[in-house]
Amino acid sequence: MAERRSPAAAFAGRFETASASGALRLAELPFLTQLNVRVDPASLAADEVAGVLGAPLPTEPGTAVRSGELTVAWLGPDEWLVIAPEGFRYELLRKAVADGRGSVVDVSAQRTTLLVAGPRARDVLAHGCALDLHPSVFGPGRCAQTTLARTQVVLLPQQDGFLVLVRSSFAAYLAAWLLDAATEHLL
């Protein structure tokens, strides 16, 4: 069996170097489990899904809820992204949407997760993102699907930074762009 490599694995060393100054922390969080959940939010199945997740599905656009080690982000009026640790087992979720009441699809390989944290994280992302990322309007509990450096991403604000979920095939490009955008903040 071939060795598994994460999409931005080749950037680990450069991320570490860029993180040394303390102004910024860049890292890839590889192999997180990501599940695309589609279900009618008004249905019984949605209640069952919420029961399995331990939190209600957020119905307010652009919001995310945390439940233990799970994050549930709003992607659309009937679509959510569940982010869980590697190896998360989701048979119960599958069961909650069985019989055509919804769908749970493992999309873990679709995107990888980049961590952009530290005091200058917002400045770095602002180089390529049109959204207002200030914590007063975009803090923990929010999420956004938008473009960062013309690449589609899901942004999840954390306490001291952001998770940037980017398609695997764009991960190397975005990693290179982040390192370039970070240059002026690392002096």
Partner: protein
């Protein structure tokens, strides 16, 4: 660049959207009963007003939902956005 207010995500830049042409073009009730000319008229003929125009947009780089917008084709001002299935609001 236009700032388009997605009815789900709020105002986003135009580059996140795809244009979908005129809104409220109903699919014919019985397509097989149409003459070639009527079918061609349904397929290819669209209004081209100077002024307010109801059109479809897709927030393709965001929530990926289709919605409708009333845009002034002369000024690019967007007078209303509304979700699929909702009636066109009166914008005078």
């Amino acid at each position: 660049m236009l700032l388009i207010p997605c009815p789900w995500c709020g105002p986003r830049e135009e580059a996140e959207f795809h244009y979908g042409g005129q809104a409220h073009v109903a699919y014919p009730d019985d397509p097989s009963a149409l003459s070639d000319e009527e079918w061609a008229r349904y397929l290819f003929f669209r209004d081209n007003p100077k002024g307010r125009f109801a059109e479809r947009w897709s927030h393709s780089a965001g929530c990926r939902r289709w919605f409708n917008a009333v845009r002034d084709t002369a000024t690019n001002e967007i007078h209303a956005v509304y979700r699929v299935g909702e009636a066109r609001p009166v914008t005078s």
